[in-house]
């Protein structure tokens, strides 16, 4: 692309692209130039002056981060002139720095400390009083010690350029300049924790792990983030075997060098108080600690004693692929067919037409190449923050047009073309309008299965504009998000999305919900397919097992739960609870047992958390990423794959003699590799209907930001940082209609009634919610007492 030129750095000849900055060149060839403000992912500020180097014919040393290379340029990074400039800069930077390294969390992993060792002097000419900056309270996640700040402005640039919301700034001037929010305010970006990683000093450190341990006492192990389908690379830090901190790992094709706050701070959940430490069996209502042999014997006995059709198996899509595969293999081996991981899905109408797994439709980096993106029922900013980051890049780099069809407006951190907001039932019609417009655009035939539905809707101008934007774009995509999957008419939404994609040339993609949703499909944890999508005689259409809803509506005698807390993880907590109550025996393989679990379960097999086991997650784009155990679990806790392997032996199943988790993974991988290609394409063959008109207030039960799985629900700092998870949100017109003005004004509680339960909750007026609807997030403490995420709900003062 650009011309190559020759330059000399430290007497080494290099051929480099013209116009690149000197520091990029030196970094690429491994010549280290000290720096504080420069960061490869951020714009160049050149304000710390630490990267000064000697350049031939330049009268003064030049900052390597802001000096473009030129033909014939001669540079010395370690000459006397360069070193003395760096040493002087260091002295200036340390003038106001408190040098409180012994009590600083950054000590031992501090860029300022390292560079002052390497490039600083041993004494300072500055004898006067150092300035002190008052610390700021910027929320539960990031702790500040602003006197240590050297004003590199990385955190400010991060906010503007990556997080897409400027929350931190530099106020005041000269020696009174301070970094902060100016008014007291908690950071609200879902990526805010990254400023901890990029802060070169101890000014911004992780609040939950503050003063826990020193950097050199911790062990670092690479791992994969377990809370969304991005598969972000992380580094787990352990101290004396305990997981005490998580920082970002680097993978340019996946998360670059950023991670979401959820992935950074969820680790606290691992050390929750209700971790189970040994196998337990309930006898006559009293819990008894037992050894593994006894526990597994009784599980095997129980499973052998009942009709396999009376067993229901529910698995968390956060479990590793090894765990999911062994669960599926062992259960199917004893004839159990009722197995599912789609805990929040309620419409399984056309499950046969699903591809091998809900695929993103492209690689994560390809998202940045899109010119038009339609998000259907997705709060991508909270659900997959780093996919949202890629969409943001598409908007910034290609002026991509982002359009949404959703049940509530989203505060995006980039400009969007249009947000089409309506009640959950109405979004089917909105999408149908777009589908109809796309069909007339391409002069195609209406698929028979959709003809009734499409007849009843009109393609309005908004729908036409969306269809045209998708069609006219060079690269376009329709993404189905988490709210679509939860929707009572998911299959209709999916069919309509497929029609739109077909008629506009847009790719159809799924924003899979959990870290291993894709892996669960591959492992065969669905009632109608075995591993690698195999439809054997055992599971073919008439013989397919029960899906989650069927398992819960018609209670099974025995349930096997793999890291599932039914009242939090299932669509309808009330029904799930009834099913657990009605069961003869509930076997829970889980790291945790809260009060509800102790009531519901009869046998608890304590399993390791993601940080304590080796395993593999498959991300939304279908990339397999394996990780190893980083932390030690309590002595009687076992990785779930080992529990299931031994259970397989106790059940007398052949081929359960795996030595390591990699054996399990490799067996599945071989099976998956035989499948030729992944595609989201499907022929519309079934009949798809519009939802029935419903009167009355409708609930929108999107999953709360930090409530998607058992670990994050227990992460105390994250929970404290998001109090809005446990409130009822409705718009001001609805407040009037329901005569709740007084209640809102006095900040008193409202009564929420769904199904047979009533409870009191605080209210938040949010005009981003459509008329006739109320947002009560799923997965939360309060929603665990309510009914389905969608449907009628009553709110009274």
């Amino acid at each position: 692309m650009s011309d190559m030129i020759k330059i000399t750095v430290d007497d080494k000849e290099l051929e480099v692209a013209a116009g690149t900055m000197l520091i990029e060149v030196t970094d690429a060839v491994g010549i280290h130039v000290p720096r504080f403000c420069y960061h490869k992912k951020l714009s160049v500020a050149a304000n710390c002056r630490m990267c000064l180097v000697e350049v031939e014919k330049a009268p003064k040393p030049m900052p390597a981060c802001a000096t473009p290379v030129n033909e014939g340029m001669k540079v010395w990074t370690r000459s006397e002139k360069a070193l003395s400039a760096q040493k002087d800069t260091m002295e200036f930077l340390l003038i106001n720095h408190p040098l409180d390294c012994p009590i600083c969390d950054q000590g031992g992993e501090c860029e300022l400390q390292d560079l002052s060792m390497g490039f600083g002097g041993s004494s300072s000419s500055y004898q006067e009083i150092k300035r002190v900056v008052v610390d700021k309270d910027i929320g539960e996640l990031v702790s500040t010690e602003m006197t240590r700040c050297i004003q590199c402005t990385r955190c400010i640039r991060f906010g503007e350029e990556i997080a897409g919301m400027r929350e931190l700034g530099a106020t005041g001037r000269g020696d009174r300049m301070e970094i902060g929010t100016f008014v007291e305010k908690s950071l609200s970006s879902e990526l805010s924790g990254n400023i901890i990683d990029i802060c070169p000093v101890g000014a911004l450190t992780a609040r939950p792990s503050r003063y826990n341990s020193r950097a050199w006492e911790m062990m670092q192990s690479p791992s994969i983030a377990p809370h969304d389908s991005v598969g972000s690379n992380v580094n787990l830090h352990t101290f004396k075997g305990n997981l005490v901190r998580v920082v970002a790992g680097e993978n340019e094709a996946i998360n670059e060098c950023w991670i979401s706050d959820r992935d950074r701070f969820s680790y606290q959940g691992v050390n929750a108080e209700d971790r189970v430490k040994s196998p337990m069996i309930k006898q006559n209502g009293i819990w008894k600690k037992v050894d593994w042999n006894e526990a597994l014997e009784s599980v095997a006995e129980k499973l052998k004693s009942v009709d396999p059709d009376d067993v229901g198996v529910l698995a968390s899509p956060q479990a590793t692929i090894e765990e999911l595969y062994l669960l599926q293999k062992s259960m199917r081996a004893i004839g159990v067919k009722n197995i599912d991981h789609r805990l929040r899905q309620t419409d399984f109408n056309d499950q046969e037409s699903m591809g091998l797994f809900p695929w993103l439709g492209m690689s994560i980096t390809d998202i940045e190449q899109q010119n038009a993106i339609l998000l259907v029922g997705s709060n991508v900013r909270k659900e997959q923050p780093l996919l949202n980051h890629r969409i943001r890049n598409a908007v910034i780099k290609n002026n991509a047009k982002v359009m949404t069809v959703n049940s509530f407006e989203i505060d995006f951190n980039y400009d969007v073309e249009s947000q089409n907001i309506s009640s959950p039932q109405e979004i089917v019609n909105t999408l149908a309008g777009i589908a109809k417009a796309s069909i007339s655009l391409s002069k195609a035939k209406v698929p028979a299965g959709l003809s009734d539905l499409l007849k009843s809707v009109r393609a309005n101008s908004d729908g036409k504009a969306i269809a045209e934007n998708l069609k006219n774009a060079e690269n376009s995509v329709v993404f189905l998000g988490g709210l679509s999957v939860q929707h009572p008419n998911y299959s209709t939404l999916r069919a309509l999305a497929a029609v739109i994609s077909e008629n506009t040339g847009a790719t159809l993609g799924y924003l899979a919900e959990s870290a291993n949703t894709v892996g669960a499909w591959l492992a065969g944890v669905v009632p109608h397919r075995e591993e690698a999508g195999i439809v054997s005689k055992n599971v073919s259409s008439s013989k397919a097992g029960k899906n989650t809803v069927e398992m819960i509506m018609n209670p099974s005698k025995v349930y096997v739960l793999l890291d599932v807390e039914p009242e939090f993880d299932c669509d309808d907590p009330q029904l799930a609870q009834q099913a657990m109550d009605a069961a003869e025996c509930v076997i829970s393989i889980s790291p945790f047992a809260d009060a509800n679990m102790l009531t519901n379960a009869d046998i608890i097999l304590p399993s390791a958390c993601y940080s304590e086991t080796s395993g593999t997650y498959v991300n939304a784009e279908g990339v397999w990423q394996s990780f190893r155990a980083a932390a030690k679990s309590s002595s009687d806790v076992r990785p779930a794959w080992k529990i299931l392997r031994v259970l397989g032996n106790k059940l007398g199943i052949d081929g359960f003699d795996y030595v390591s988790s990699t054996d399990v993974r490799d067996e599945l991988k071989v099976a998956c590799d035989t499948v030729s290609s992944v595609s989201n394409h499907f022929e519309i063959s079934g009949i798809y209907i519009a939802p029935e008109k419903q009167d009355g207030l409708q609930r929108i039960g999107a999953v709360a930001e930090f409530c998607g799985d058992s670990v994050q629900r227990r992460a105390t700092a994250l929970q404290k940082s998001a109090p809005e998870q446990e409130v009822v949100q409705l718009n001001s017109a609805e407040v009037q209609r329901l005569s709740l003005q007084d209640t809102v004004e006095n900040s008193s509680l409202v009564t929420v009634a769904q199904g047979n339960e009533k409870l009191s909750m605080p209210v938040l007026v949010n005009d981003l919610i459509p008329d006739g609807c109320v947002l009560i997030a799923s997965g939360t403490q309060s929603s665990s007492e309510l009914g389905s995420a969608f449907g009628n709900i009553e709110i009274t003062s």
């Binding site: 919301m165 400027r166 929350e167 931190l168 700034g169 530099a170 106020t171 005041g172 001037r173 929010t181 100016f182 008014v183 005009d767």
Partner: protein, 178 residues
């Protein structure tokens, strides 16, 4: 979110609109200095509420407004500074050599306040001026509101302060008569 009804007065909005016209449409940040000046004219200081309103009006992040407001010494962010008239005496080198200390002392005595304070009747705010106001040839000097006054003596200071004070007292008379 946009529920704050017109925190900015009509006059302030008109003033900002006037400046906005001078810059390209996507460069509303260019009008920020002028917008803050408009608020200063009206309130004599910048409240957080008004700064937030300016941010909303110009579609800028709030912190951007705080940064600019706290950078320039011509903006006051302290409510105490909301005096009708702002006095700023230069105390930099040239003025100091020519007796600015005496001028400061005189004003402090006359108004009964220290630098950085406002008279109890809200008439005068005596600003701490940090930087040279570029009128060294007329040292010692001060700026009252927007006007430079050079070659100061205590008597001249009295005259100037009296002259700016007259207008509000006229208002008062009118008010009493009415």
């Amino acid at each position: 979110m946009a529920s704050t009804p017109n925190v900015l007065s009509k006059h302030e909005r008109d003033d900002i609109d006037h400046w906005l016209k001078r810059y390209p449409e996507d460069q509303s940040q260019s009008a920020l200095l002028a917008a803050l000046r408009a608020v200063m004219h009206e309130d004599h200081y910048l409240s957080i509420e008004k700064m937030d309103a300016v941010a909303d009006y110009l579609s800028l992040p709030k912190i951007t407004v705080y940064e600019v407001a706290s950078f320039y010494s011509m903006y006051e962010m302290d409510e105490k500074a909301a005096g009708k008239n702002t006095i700023a005496v230069c105390t930099n080198v040239s003025c100091m050599l020519n007796g600015s200390d005496k001028i400061v002392e005189h004003i402090e005595e006359k108004l009964g306040i220290k630098m950085g304070e406002t008279t109890p009747d809200g008439e005068f705010f005596f600003k701490i001026e940090e930087e040279c106001l570029a009128a060294c040839c007329g040292a010692p000097m001060m700026q009252v509101n927007h006007v430079y006054h050079e070659n100061l003596t205590p008597e001249k200071v009295d005259e100037i302060l009296e002259s700016v004070k007259t207008k509000p007292s006229l208002h008062k008379k009118e008010a009493n008569n009415g």
